[in-house]
C-alpha cells in the first residue's frame, strides 16, 4: 500500500487552477522530488497534502486513510510533517525550544520533549547551537533547525519545501547529508520541492514534474533529464548538455 496516494487533485484560487488533475502515488521509504518552474503549483500541492488549504476536488489518501479535508494539525498527528519555504523558526525561542514545540505533539512531559529534542539535535549535528536563539543563527543552520523542528513531531513522512534555496555548494552538501540521514537512517519517507538540480538529481529516487498546475512527467532522475517536455518547460537545453555525462 502506498503511503501517499493522490487522485485527480484540483486546487483553485478564485479562477486560477493552481493544481489541475494531479495524480501520483508514493511508496513507503521513497525519496521523491517535485520540480517545475516557479508558479507551477508545487507549494500549493504541499499545502493541500498537509491540510493547510482545502482541495477543490480530488482525493488524498495517507497510509490508506482518506485524509482529503483533514486539517493540518490532524495530518501532523497522523505522521505527516513539513517545512516552509520562507520560515525562519520562531525567533525568540532557542533552537532546542523550537524543536521541543514539535516534540510536544507526542508527549505532555517537558522532560520527555527535551530528551527527544536533544536526540534530534545530535542526529542533525546541531547540538552546539542548542541554546542559541534561532534568529541569531546563520541561514544554513536555520534551515537545518526547520527540518529538526518538523522531525520533532516524529513523522512517517516529511515534506521539505526548498530547504536548499540560497545556500552555497558546501552548505548544500550538508543539507544533502541531513536529508539522506533522515531518509536512510531514520526511515522517513521524504518528498521535497527543490530548484537546486544538483540536490534533486543526487538524492531523489524519483521525480514528479509540474508545469502550469499539470503533472507533465513522473520517473527516475535520468528519465526526467531526457524527457523532451521537461527540458522545454523547465530544465533547458543547456542543463542537459552540461550534465549529459553524469545522468546517463
Amino acid at each position: 500500500m502506498p503511503i501517499l496516494d493522490i487522485r485527480h487533485l484540483v486546487k483553485e484560487y478564485g479562477g486560477l487552477r493552481a493544481n489541475d488533475d494531479i495524480s501520483f502515488t508514493l511508496e513507503k521509504g521513497e525519496l521523491l522530488g517535485v520540480i517545475g518552474p516557479n508558479g507551477a503549483g508545487k507549494t500549493t500541492l504541499f499545502n493541500c497534502i498537509a491540510g493547510l488549504h482545502p482541495v477543490t476536488s480530488g482525493r488524498i489518501f495517507f497510509d490508506g486513510q482518506d485524509v482529503t479535508l483533514k486539517p493540518a494539525h490532524e495530518m501532523a498527528r497522523l505522521g505527516l510533517a513539513r517545512t516552509f519555504q520562507v520560515y525562519t523558526a520562531a525567533g525568540d525561542l532557542t533552537v532546542v525550544e523550537n524543536i521541543m514545540v514539535g516534540c510536544f505533539l507526542r508527549t505532555r512531559s517537558r522532560k520527555d520533549a527535551r530528551r527527544r529534542a536533544d536526540g534530534i539535535l545530535y542526529d542533525l549535528k546541531l547540538s552546539d547551537h542548542a541554546d542559541t536563539l534561532v534568529s541569531e543563527l546563520p541561514v544554513p543552520a536555520q534551515k537545518q533547525v526547520t527540518m529538526a523542528t518538523a522531525l520533532g513531531t516524529a513523522p512517517r513522512m516529511l515534506l521539505l519545501d526548498e530547504v536548499a534555496a540560497g545556500l552555497n555548494p558546501s552548505e548544500i552538501d550538508d543539507i544533502m547529508t541531513s536529508i539522506r540521514h533522515i531518509h536512510n537512517e531514520m526511515g522517513i519517507t521524504v518528498m521535497l520541492i527543490e530548484h537546486v538540480m544538483e540536490l534533486v538529481m543526487n538524492v531523489c529516487d524519483r521525480l514528479v514534474v509540474l508545469d502550469y498546475g499539470h503533472k507533465i512527467a513522473d520517473g527516475t532522475p535520468a528519465d526526467i533529464a531526457a524527457n523532451a517536455e521537461v527540458i522545454k518547460a523547465y530544465l533547458g537545453e543547456r542543463y542537459v548538455k552540461e550534465h549529459a555525462g553524469e545522468l546517463s
Binding site: 491540510g51 493547510l52 501532523a76 498527528r77 513539513r82 514545540v101 517537558r110 523542528t149 518538523a150
Partner: protein
C-alpha cells in the same frame, strides 16, 4: 507531579534575576512592619492587583500574541459573583471566588470560540465590544444593583473575617493578595514551561507553522484564554472584598482593560517578570503623581500626560518593553 516541579523550577532564569526577585519579595513581606502610611499600603495592594491582572493577560496576550482588550469583563464577573453571594446569601469568599472563576471561564468559552476566529486588530476590537456589552448589561440588571452597583457593608469588623475576607485594616488584604501574587508567579512559571506555553509561543510566531506541527491553534488559544480569565476573575473577587463598593462603571470600564494590557506591554509582554515590572513602574507612578501633582498643585491630569509619555518612549525604543531592554543589554554584553 511534573507540573508542580516545573512551577518551582526557575533554573533557566539567570541567578541575578532570582536574587533580585527574592530581595524584592522579602522587602514586600517586611514592608508593613515599618508602619508605612495607609496610602503606601494601598498603593502596593494596587500593584499586586494589577501585577496579577497583567500576569493573566500575559498568557494569551504576551506569550500568545493575541491582544486582548476586554479583560475588565472578567474583573466584573469575579467581583460581582463574590459581592452578590456575600450580600444575598452570606457565602464566604473562598466559595464564591471559585464559582466566579467558573462563571468567568464559562463566559470565556462562549465568547472565545467565535472571537478566536478573528485575527489581529479585529480580535482586539471584538474583545472590547464584548466587554462593553457585558458592562451595559450589568448597568441595567437590577439583581446586581444595576448602575448603582453593590455595597458590601459589614455588620462588624472585628475579629478579622478570613472566611469572608472582610477586614478593617488593609494590612490583612496586603498579605492575602501577596499570597495570591506568589502563587500567580508559580502558575505563570508552570505555564511558560508547559506544552501549552510552547504551543502559544509557536502560534504567536506563525500560525501555519504551528498547525503543521500538530497544534490545534484555535483550541490552544481558547484554553489559554481561559487561564488568563481565571487569573483576572480571581483577583476581581478579591477586589470586591477589598474595595467593598463595586459598580459597572469603574469595575468593568474600558480603562481597566487597557491599563491591564498596557502594563504588561510596558514591562514586557511574553516574559515572566514583564507584567510585574510594568505594574511596579506604573501603579506607584500613577497614584503618587495623582496624589502629589493632581491634588496639591491643581494640575489635574498631569499624571496622565507623564504616564502617556513614558509609554510612548518605551514603545518607540523597544517594543518588547522594559524587559526587552534588559535582555538586549544582556545579549550585547555576552557577545
Amino acid at each position: 507531579m511534573e507540573a508542580l516541579r516545573n512551577a518551582f523550577d526557575f533554573s533557566d532564569s539567570p541567578r541575578v534575576d532570582l536574587v533580585i526577585a527574592a530581595m524584592v519579595a522579602v522587602a514586600l513581606l517586611l514592608f508593613p512592619l515599618f508602619s508605612p502610611s495607609s496610602f503606601a499600603i494601598a498603593t502596593i495592594i494596587q500593584f499586586f492587583i494589577f501585577a496579577l491582572y497583567g500576569m493573566g493577560w500575559n498568557t494569551i496576550g504576551g506569550y500568545g500574541g493575541q491582544v486582548d482588550l476586554g479583560k475588565a469583563q472578567y474583573v466584573g464577573i469575579g467581583a460581582y459573583t463574590t459581592a452578590v453571594m456575600l450580600i444575598r446569601w452570606d457565602i464566604p469568599f473562598w466559595v464564591s471566588m471559585p464559582i466566579g472563576m467558573f462563571f468567568s471561564i464559562t463566559w470565556s468559552f462562549i465568547i472565545g470560540y467565535p472571537l478566536f476566529r478573528l485575527k489581529g486588530h479585529y480580535f482586539a476590537i471584538a474583545t472590547i465590544a464584548t466587554s462593553l456589552v457585558l458592562k451595559d448589561l450589568f448597568e441595567i440588571w437590577d439583581f446586581v444593583g444595576a448602575a448603582r452597583g453593590l455595597e458590601i457593608s459589614p455588620i462588624k469588623y472585628s475579629p478579622p473575617d478570613f472566611l469572608r475576607l472582610i477586614f478593617k485594616q488593609d494590612i490583612y488584604y496586603y498579605y492575602v493578595i501577596f499570597g495570591f501574587f506568589l502563587l500567580g508567579i508559580l502558575i505563570i512559571n508552570w505555564f511558560r514551561r508547559s506544552r501549552l506555553g510552547f504551543q502559544l509561543r509557536a502560534i504567536k510566531d506563525n500560525e501555519d507553522v504551528a498547525r503543521s506541527l500538530g497544534i490545534n491553534v484555535h483550541l490552544s488559544k481558547v484554553k489559554t484564554y481561559a487561564i488568563a480569565t481565571a487569573f483576572v476573575s480571581m483577583v476581581g473577587s478579591f477586589h470586591a472584598c477589598y474595595i467593598k463598593n463595586i459598580e459597572p462603571e469603574d469595575t468593568m470600564s474600558l480603562d481597566i482593560s487597557i491599563l491591564i494590557a498596557l502594563m504588561a506591554m510596558l514591562g514586557g509582554a511574553g516574559s515572566l517578570w514583564g507584567p510585574i515590572i510594568g505594574a511596579g513602574v506604573l501603579i506607584p507612578l500613577k497614584s503618587y503623581l495623582k496624589e502629589w501633582l493632581g491634588a496639591r498643585g491643581g494640575l489635574v491630569g498631569i499624571d496622565l500626560i507623564i504616564y502617556a509619555a513614558i509609554i510612548m518612549v518605551i514603545s518607540a525604543r523597544e517594543p518588547r518593553g522594559i524587559w526587552g531592554i534588559v535582555e538586549r543589554v544582556r545579549r550585547r554584553k555576552r557577545l
